[in-house]
Symmetry: C2
Subunit: 566 residues, 2 copies
Amino acid sequence: MSRTAFTIGIDYGTNSVRAVVVDCADGREIGTHVFAYPSGDQGVLLDPKQPHLARQNPADYIDGLRASVTGALGAAEGQAGFSRDRVVGIGVDTTGSTPLPVDAQGRALAMDPKWKNNLAAYAWLWKDHTSASEAAAITSTAAAHAPEYLAPIGGTYSSEWWWSKIWHCLKTAPDVFDAAASWVELADYVPAVLSGVTDARAIVRCVCAAGHKAMYSETWGGLPSKAFLTRLDPKLAALRDRLYDKAWPPGRPAGQLSDEWARAFGLKPGIAIAMGGFDAHYGAVGSGVQTGTLVKIIGTSTCDCAVAPATDRIADIPGICGIVNGSIMPGYFGIEAGQSAVGDILKWWVEGICEGSDALHAQLSTEAKQLAPGESGLIALDWNNGNRTILVDPRLTGLILGQTLHTTRAEIYRALIEATAYGARAIIERMREYGVPIERVVCCGGIAEKNDLFMQIYADVIGQPMLIAGSPQTPALGAAIAAAVTAGEAAGGYANWQTAQERMTRLKTKRFEPRPDARAVYDRLYAIYRELHDAFGGVTGARPDLASVMKRLLSIKERAVSALAC
Amino acid sequence: MSRTAFTIGIDYGTNSVRAVVVDCADGREIGTHVFAYPSGDQGVLLDPKQPHLARQNPADYIDGLRASVTGALGAAEGQAGFSRDRVVGIGVDTTGSTPLPVDAQGRALAMDPKWKNNLAAYAWLWKDHTSASEAAAITSTAAAHAPEYLAPIGGTYSSEWWWSKIWHCLKTAPDVFDAAASWVELADYVPAVLSGVTDARAIVRCVCAAGHKAMYSETWGGLPSKAFLTRLDPKLAALRDRLYDKAWPPGRPAGQLSDEWARAFGLKPGIAIAMGGFDAHYGAVGSGVQTGTLVKIIGTSTCDCAVAPATDRIADIPGICGIVNGSIMPGYFGIEAGQSAVGDILKWWVEGICEGSDALHAQLSTEAKQLAPGESGLIALDWNNGNRTILVDPRLTGLILGQTLHTTRAEIYRALIEATAYGARAIIERMREYGVPIERVVCCGGIAEKNDLFMQIYADVIGQPMLIAGSPQTPALGAAIAAAVTAGEAAGGYANWQTAQERMTRLKTKRFEPRPDARAVYDRLYAIYRELHDAFGGVTGARPDLASVMKRLLSIKERAVSALAC
């Protein structure tokens, strides 16, 4: 082993935070520790009166920082070659958009006892959906007065994002809004904490949060103009001065480890703190994203990430959530898409409808595996939680079609997996259509790790091999890679991202190849899916032949059944 | 009590036969007995190699006749005013089309040991679907050469019907076909047995089976022409001579009780045997069908019956299964429609998908009752078993639309009930559109008896009170009424159907009134149902606004939820 340097990746999830100590030589994870957030319901603060509210306690972030890093370092102790003074950097990834209000010293407002009982002063978790009306107003205002803001985010501003949430705070908790010196994304907050920042103005902002969630672009001089913000609310325009003028891609340091945290962890003070980033983006890095690779992070929902050299001209891609220069790696456009429910749809079916648990997931998966493509006669739309990409429409709902009196729960289970695969294919086709090459698909996340049926269906539907990322913790690994690049070659890290990824990431040997027979059936089914997708999704010019849909499915079914009988 | 006459109604169902002794004065059922068919799977003979096959053993019919009538008479013994010599007639209703081959003496071929092992020689139960290709060929041949045959049966000949089955027998079991002196509908077979018929040519045929299932009409001289049958198979044309030239409406006698059966039952020989009829038709009679009344027999599937004076000009009604002069009562067109799955769809959901039993039916019903119309955001099509009326298309399948990650099994349970109610409304609207008045809706059958939620939804969706027939055994009661009319006033029966119905039928006091608020919501939902129905059902000129369907459902849902909050 030529290098003897280590970095730490810290992954802030929805329910817990995980720290991983990584060997820079080969990306091996030599120590890991998970800290479950103690507050609320598995770390999420809820309000029975506001069902769309989802907040987090910033104290959990700090406690989790301390506990997870301490635990991971403790686990690494004694591993060959490891010592704490060989840790050269720390990287952080988080959920997002998860903004929180801070005071002038950059401290989370919620940590001040004064705001203890006001949930608006806490962190507004990505899945907080209280701000739907603000999101709609931002979309319509931008469409009328600044359509350029909408182009790189797929045409619709989301209730999950930065400005919707801050504006909702201004409307519903003006005291909190007024007390906030600034607002910070969680992805920027943690690196600032590690760096010992004591001035809100000194917090370094990452372009991934800024560009994907806050309508930041250097093309129009950073955040949206004051004139635009004034149309929403003059107080938002005034806030703009207290936010930031510049956001940075990963690779540069967000700061250096403060003496205090260095003492707490037994690490060298001053080591590199990488720019924070979103979990999906660093997950893509940890999965080996490069030009021509699509990384699919498949869990309850899906995030799809690709990059394209920033020297290319990439058109705005209708329906793609975000195309932001430098958001995943410097020098590349980061391209982000996603499906709003994937694992969640199966969970709904198995747990919500069939009232089963993990055992039933396994049983239905086994039964569904026995079915040939097309054999059920079913087709479904994967819209139980709306459609993020490529329709960008939360007001879409699920559909299951083709059932008879003999349709089984396993058949519907499989049809729902297939529906998410069709949705995935629609995203890939859209990207290709607009010039983003997709030659390799690398999957990571819980479903990619565990559900072979799912992966085989994806290979068959998409018509490409499904590769699986080597690490089960790609976001933390990606953050550790960012730390290695930020620390630089001289410190034992890397001079560039490509080399770091080549050395520190790998694929599993297990991969899923498309089967030609299955692929041919799925091509026919996908055509039907697209007819329904375009018709119910309101795609202009959709001309579905609905009168033949059920009959076509029956004929595919009959062909599948007779092929089985042979 | 002025009259002291009694009749017996015998109802041949799919799994059992029931006999009921009825007081002609008031329709009171004073003795009843049920005999479960001993053969096969609950009376149905199956063949694992032919999943669409469903036959019955004619020996069960005879054994059941003896046991059920004997049992019912035994139960009536001792009831005030009853004695066996006051029984003045017997009526029979059966499933249909359930044809069976008979020998020259009119005996069921299957009773001959020679044919014991050949299922083609048994009775071809209504739900035998082995003859799909023959049905399709009959439809296309008629469409090309004799479209008038199709008009009164809704445009499509069914695999469940007479000619399809006999032709399939000819093709697949020619020895049975050749051995059959004739073929008889079960509805005609049982009265012939009771009458002691010993010559197949003497079997009296009812117009309900002939007209609804065998393309019989006096307009074209009875059964389909030999020229037409020759196009199917010359042997069918030759069979025509061994069938019948004339079929009769109910009201005339099919025969008189034979000495042998009179002895067996302790009844007077020679009493009237009424014309046989289908269970749905006599069920309509027993529910008090008259001009302006729709009788809905709601069970696993639904049969809807109405009558219109035969003096009126009733146009062929597209998509209505059958309009046959005299098929329900003499002097009226019998108009028959139906939904191919109603209770069966709920059974599929509760037992097939949720894997529950009666207790879960009750639980989901209770939960579904708590929901306001529109609150689930769901809409479904009731086509899990195809659509009999008004699309006449077995190659249609189910659809559920509008589900989210929070959709519950009770919400889908309710949406499926609603879907069947929309299907029921479509039938009523179609009948009205073509001049059949529907001023009253009387329901009978298991669901009407037991499921209040179901009935209330029907009232709200259809916008009319749902009345419930007074007897839980309307087919047997209707057969008993037919016997009373056939016996005539002098014998203690009645001179006409109207008087007999007035005296012998009643409604339950429980009835379900439409609620104006619910009705308004269901009007909006029904409009969406019709858009989907017409689009997927292939109705010419359908112009659904699919792009807004999910959004309209969400807005109905939101309105329902906010109304609940008030």
